[in-house]
Symmetry: C2
Subunit: 379 residues, 2 copies
């Protein structure tokens, strides 16, 4: 996998991570187009880089992005914003572009200032090249165990993306950073609309632990360097493919997880209802613990479903666990002990018998390792 035409990137171990791993990366769009748009966290408490980058992407012109792990620069006040601004200025100077076209993304511990000397040194050390894709994916990792990358070709144009995020992972957004790049030529209004919908269908349908972060940013940049025009449903499809792959990789690597759980809600009265029921189940700790234990406790599915904002008859819900119809019309059906939990993937199908809409939410189980990882993050 590699960067689309028109993109270069470079990464460095700037010393933000105590491990000495890569922690700072710059991605540059050399054009000819520099279209950029992004979707941000819905959290009211916004990290400094989100406040900065929202202004940048309003102009739909993004020439570069700088991303760091090892510090979120959130809850850092005016000093934190000044630090973000300075990072953008340093990148702009290095690349001879406007700082108003530099998106900044940070991830890591909240409530600590970034070591700006290390960042400045790191920015100066970075060498950008066409072969920097995998290193950029590695530089944004936090508790991720593997880098997340996806790439596909549509009609001769390449779409490639990276992502990080393994905890505090919930719509909208997840704890995550993601950059999706293409060398296709896109039309701004069409591209923004397609990207928003693709994010809605992918990143906003994974929910690892119900916790929404202060730093989430999903950035889309198009260079137009391939000369291939892509628009409409073609663009939506390819963006959904790339973002869908990255989303699934995030859940597959969710903090401490032992199971990936696909919660498929069918025959809902509306897509919103289906999503709401899926999320209510994805956030139910008791259900997530049961799945960790291989316990076919479908009553917890019904109890979670009953808390969701959705229209359905509570006496007429059907549930399948890994294909076994354990519940029919909200009462016991096939023997729950027939459910096989051997595979990592667990499929829960919830039939609301209330309409024709459906949605699938991806989540993971709640495990001892999740508790362990998250009880010792700052210390």
């Amino acid at each position: 996998m590699s960067l689309p035409k028109g993109f270069v990137s470079g990464s460095v171990a700037a010393g933000l991570k105590s491990s000495g791993a890569l922690d700072l990366t710059i991605i540059q769009n050399l054009g000819p187009s520099n279209f950029g748009t992004a979707v941000y966290t819905t959290n009211k408490v916004l990290a400094a880089p989100v406040i900065w980058s929202r202004q940048v992407t309003k102009g739909e012109a993004v020439s570069a992005a700088i991303l760091n792990s090892g510090g979120a620069n959130a809850c850092t006040g005016p000093q934190g914003f000044a630090d973000t601004h300075k990072s953008a200025e340093l990148v702009a100077k290095k690349l001879n572009i406007s700082s108003g076209e530099v998106v900044v993304c940070s991830t890591g511990l909240i409530g600590e200032f970034l070591p700006m000397e290390k960042i400045e040194t790191g920015i100066n050390q970075i060498n950008l090249s066409e072969s920097g894709f995998e290193a950029s994916a590695k530089a944004i990792m936090t508790t991720d165990s593997v880098p997340k990358m996806a790439s596909t070709v549509s009609k001769g144009a390449t779409f490639s993306g990276i992502a990080k995020g393994a905890g505090m992972l919930a719509p909208a957004m997840a704890t995550m950073l993601s950059v999706v790049m293409t060398d296709a030529e896109v039309e701004p209004t069409d591209a923004q609309s397609a990207f928003n919908r693709a994010v809605e269908l992918t990143y906003n349908r994974i929910d690892s632990d119900g916790c929404t972060s202060t730093n989430d940013t999903v950035l889309f940049m198009a260079s137009g360097a391939s000369g291939v025009k892509i628009s409409g449903t073609d663009l939506l499809d390819v963006l959904t493919e790339v973002c869908g792959s990255l989303s699934a990789q995030l859940i597959a690597d969710a903090e401490g997880s032992s199971k990936t759980v696909a919660i498929k809600v069918v025959n809902a009265a509306s897509e919103d209802d289906a999503v709401n029921v899926g999320r209510a189940n994805a956030r139910n700790n008791l259900l997530k613990c049961a799945i960790f234990g291989g316990d076919p406790n479908w009553g917890r599915v019904l109890a979670a479903t009953g808390t969701a904002k959705a229209s359905f008859d509570p006496l007429n819900v059907d549930v399948k666990l890994n294909g076994i119809q354990v519940c029919k019309a909200s009462t016991p059906a096939e023997d729950r002990n027939l459910v096989n939990f051997e595979n990592r993937l667990v499929e829960i199908e919830i039939n609301l018998n209330a309409g024709t809409s459906s949605a699938t939410i991806l989540t993971n189980d709640l495990t001892h390792d999740y508790v362990h990882e998250n009880s010792a993050y700052a210390t």
Copy 2:
């Protein structure tokens, strides 16, 4: 502690629990008054006993309650409702009262039918007496490690209550059953209003794991046998005292918990805002894991607060952790390493600087033991 005047109760090990412990209890109000009111779960998926009891308490006349552990009788359809009805009939026949004045409560695994032969035998074996209080508290325990009881005297009238519930414990309601009894003389409209508010201030402000059950019932019965009239704020105060004590006991015994966490939200624009912010923190798994690990990661408080439905300036939130002002105006203040986590009680004060309202939500940490207990409940 004992039953108020006018009440008798009796309990038996009917064999619903495999442990052979007490699992079935009847509480009777001998009067002269038989006022009763209740607050039920907000879950759309309602257990059969909740559907039955809601009809009973509409009449505000409750002469007896039968409560069982060892089976929730939820998601059991028409058969489950028939079983609940039969339990009420058996109690009515035994006590020579109307089945329409018998509240039924069940708790345990969802999606299994109750063994009605054992329940019928149990009902016949029960002997009611004035000294049955503690046994009744024990008979409703599920994963509780200790029975929960509270009793107080106000102006010569006794108020006594029992409760169970250690998981699936969230407003509104918690996974819990509770019966509060008094020998005071109360006026129905006043008593219903005072009880609803007392429940709002106590049971609805504990949130162990964010999971709302199908069976929650908090029943209040008044016999009038003391001849003492209690009303208005006096009644609210004493009900809040008893329900507050029982609520705190539930959190202190929450499944697998090692810490009780009091989330005090102050200077909110409204009481609803304060409650919403408190609950958002109480349901944040990352924060709950951090507290388990003794990690003063206040960034997770800000991140959770930013997801709550509440009006405040995200750049002007203050946080104290066990008295240490770790965050001032949404930025780092005192050294987070000064926070001492030695005691079971952890106090988080969130100052929204947005008004004059406040509320405290009680929760607990998320631990290895929670995961363990809840990954092996049905099996």
